[in-house]
């Protein structure tokens, strides 16, 4: 079978890479997560069981990471989707400067998250020399000076969410703008002739028609936000546990590598817990969507 051979030769690189870097690790991560007391140096362990999971679930750092992650998800996903929808609606209804706005809005997508994170840090951080631009602005309007980077938890969380939204907006605006453009303008004309108020047009016509895309963004938004990590590092530095701003993914990497690292078993358990959470949320999302999303 010459044909069979050609095909398999074509697939060989992909299959080989996937086996080594996807399939094997998948099995391995499960194994790791059940191996108790695994020692990275000697590569030995002394038992199997659920101890890794219970350790992780009782680790205050993990609880903190879990809490942070959930807050980030709950705040940024609805807010970013909502604001992106507003902006896309605005964009779809203008002609002048439209291309300019679209270009500007997409910029964060092509910039290095860690690099721009530094700029945000500078804008929000209180140093010996300056309170930071944002804090000064707040004081100018009569508010209290806040250190958003090393200060109170909610101040840090605010910057965190703000930066996360800043980073995810380009993609959402792009997708929603193209979704809005795909709605046949004839529906708007029909609604207009029937004296439909703008909000009702949006709620009864536009939203149902773009609902598959909105839903797609909500699902990917959830998944992305649960995996938040680089943005946090960008703002608060690599030692997120110290800043109290760690996320689940951050916890996984810290367990694996770095100052507190060397525990692949704990890392695996935490990663699997994350996967279970994401999987559950996505399933719930899909179930909700079946009732609310209109598919043509």
């Amino acid at each position: 079978m010459k044909k069979n051979l050609t095909a398999w030769l074509c697939l060989l690189p992909a299959v080989a890479f996937l086996l080594v870097f996807m399939v094997y690790p998948l099995v391995d991560v499960l194994v790791y997560s059940f191996e108790e007391g695994y020692n990275f140096a000697s590569q030995s362990y002394f038992g199997t069981g659920l101890y890794n999971y219970s350790y992780v679930l009782r680790d205050p750092y993990f609880i903190q990471a879990l809490k942070n992650t959930f807050i980030i998800v709950i705040i940024t996903v609805p807010l970013s989707t909502g604001i992106a929808l507003l902006i896309s609606l605005g964009l779809s209804n203008i002609k002048v400067l439209r291309d300019f706005y679209q270009t500007v809005y997409f910029l964060p997508y092509v910039t290095n998250t860690l690099a721009v994170g530094l700029v945000f840090m500078v804008l929000f951080k209180k140093t010996a020399y300056s309170d930071g631009l944002v804090s000064i602005l707040i004081q100018f309007f009569g508010g209290p000076g806040v250190d958003f980077i090393d200060g109170p938890y909610w101040a840090k969380m605010f910057v965190m969410c703000f930066y996360t939204i800043w980073c995810v907006m380009p993609f959402k605006i792009l997708i929603l703008t193209s979704a809005l453009a795909s709605v046949n303008p004839m529906y708007y004309k029909a609604a207009r002739v029937d004296d439909t108020r703008p909000f009702r047009i949006f709620y009864k016509i536009t939203l149902p028609m773009i609902s598959p895309m909105v839903f797609y963004l909500v699902i990917t938004g959830f998944i992305g936000a649960f995996k938040a990590y680089s943005d946090e590092v960008a703002l608060f530095g690599a030692d997120l546990n110290a800043a109290g701003m760690n996320t689940i993914v951050g916890y996984v990497y810290d367990m694996l590598y770095g100052n507190s690292g060397g525990y692949p078993s704990y890392a695996s358990a935490a990663a699997l817990i994350l996967f279970a959470i994401v999987f559950t949320i996505t399933t719930i999302n899909l179930m909700v969507s079946r009732k609310t999303v209109y598919y043509n």
């Binding site: 079978m1 044909k3 203008i94 500007v104 500078v122 590598y257």
Partner: protein
């Protein structure tokens, strides 16, 4: 309704139009400023001198004495050029290898017949749901055990395959009419010549999409390089910027830091501004098909 009511109605609807347009532009401009301001600030700060920056308790929104000292510092005090070169090498090799792997597999799935094709493809698709975070732990161990830490090979190998791109390209290949293939076969064209001369040119938009997405991903990748490199000679820009942040220029030198940030941001921003329509179209395509 009489003629006077109509005049009132017209005036009201004109006023409504003006309000709506104003609200739209205000909203759009607010977000545009929020997006642009950090870029402005990093450019501005990068040309302020170290002394004048630290002297400003209330930072100024302009500077009258711009300097390029910070840029010189960024390239001399830290190996920024090295980070840059590393990232370039990493991006080019990863993208090229990935293209090869992806094109070959998509070709096999779309054009060649072999036993077990459907099964293998379903297995591929199911891998699409596996998050990177789950497999990165073992990959870290694997690469460490293979003594490939602090090598380009170790950086590149785990990211040269993407099931999603294989899927994207396969869909595209399958849209090429069967007749073209038959015609080529009648003319005695080999499978690979057909792939090279017909399928790849026709699928160029999708390939461009894949390249764009991959280049952006490579340029921004942080987690894997951080795990696999601790030798500065192999740092990518993301790790470099983190290193600058943590250990910096010996002191907290914000203007120099901003200069480094500008240098790192400029290449992708420039490429984006030149090819912006292609890039946005590509990202939308890649995003909505997933």
């Amino acid at each position: 309704m009489n003629n006077r009511d109509i005049k009132n109605e017209e005036a009201r609807s004109r006023a409504g139009d003006v309000t709506r347009i104003t609200v739209r532009y205000v909203l759009l401009s607010v977000w545009a400023i929020l997006v642009l301001f950090p870029f402005y600030w990093m450019l501005l700060t990068s040309i302020k001198s170290y002394g004048s920056y630290n002297a400003e308790y209330v930072p100024k929104f302009y500077t009258l004495s711009p300097t390029i000292d910070n840029y010189i510092q960024a390239f001399t005090a830290v190996p920024l050029a090295k980070y840059f070169l590393n990232t370039l090498i990493f991006t080019v090799i990863t993208t090229a290898l990935m293209l090869l792997v992806v094109i070959l597999s998509a070709f096999a799935f779309a054009r060649l017949d072999f036993r077990g094709k459907d099964l293998v493809f379903s297995l591929f698709l199911s891998l699409m749901m596996i998050p990177n975070e789950l497999v990165i732990i073992t990959n870290y161990v694997t690469i460490t055990n293979l003594n490939m830490r602090n090598t380009f090979l170790g950086l590149i190998l785990p990211s040269v395959t993407s099931v999603f791109y294989i899927y994207l390209l396969k869909e595209n290949f399958e849209q090429i009419p069967e007749e073209l293939y038959k015609a080529a076969k009648v003319d005695g064209t080999s499978d690979f010549r057909y792939l090279w001369k017909v399928m790849i040119p026709i699928s160029k938009p999708t390939l461009v999409t894949v390249v764009i997405l991959k280049v952006i991903e490579c340029w921004n990748s942080y987690i894997w390089p951080r795990l696999i490199t601790d030798d500065q000679n192999y740092f990518l820009v993301s790790n470099g910027i983190q290193e600058i942040r943590e250990n910096g220029f010996g002191r907290e030198n914000v203007p120099a830091m901003m200069a480094a940030v500008v240098v790192i941001s400029v290449p992708l921003v420039v490429i984006f501004l030149i090819f912006r329509h292609k890039i946005m179209e590509g990202v939308a395509r890649g995003g909505t098909k997933g």
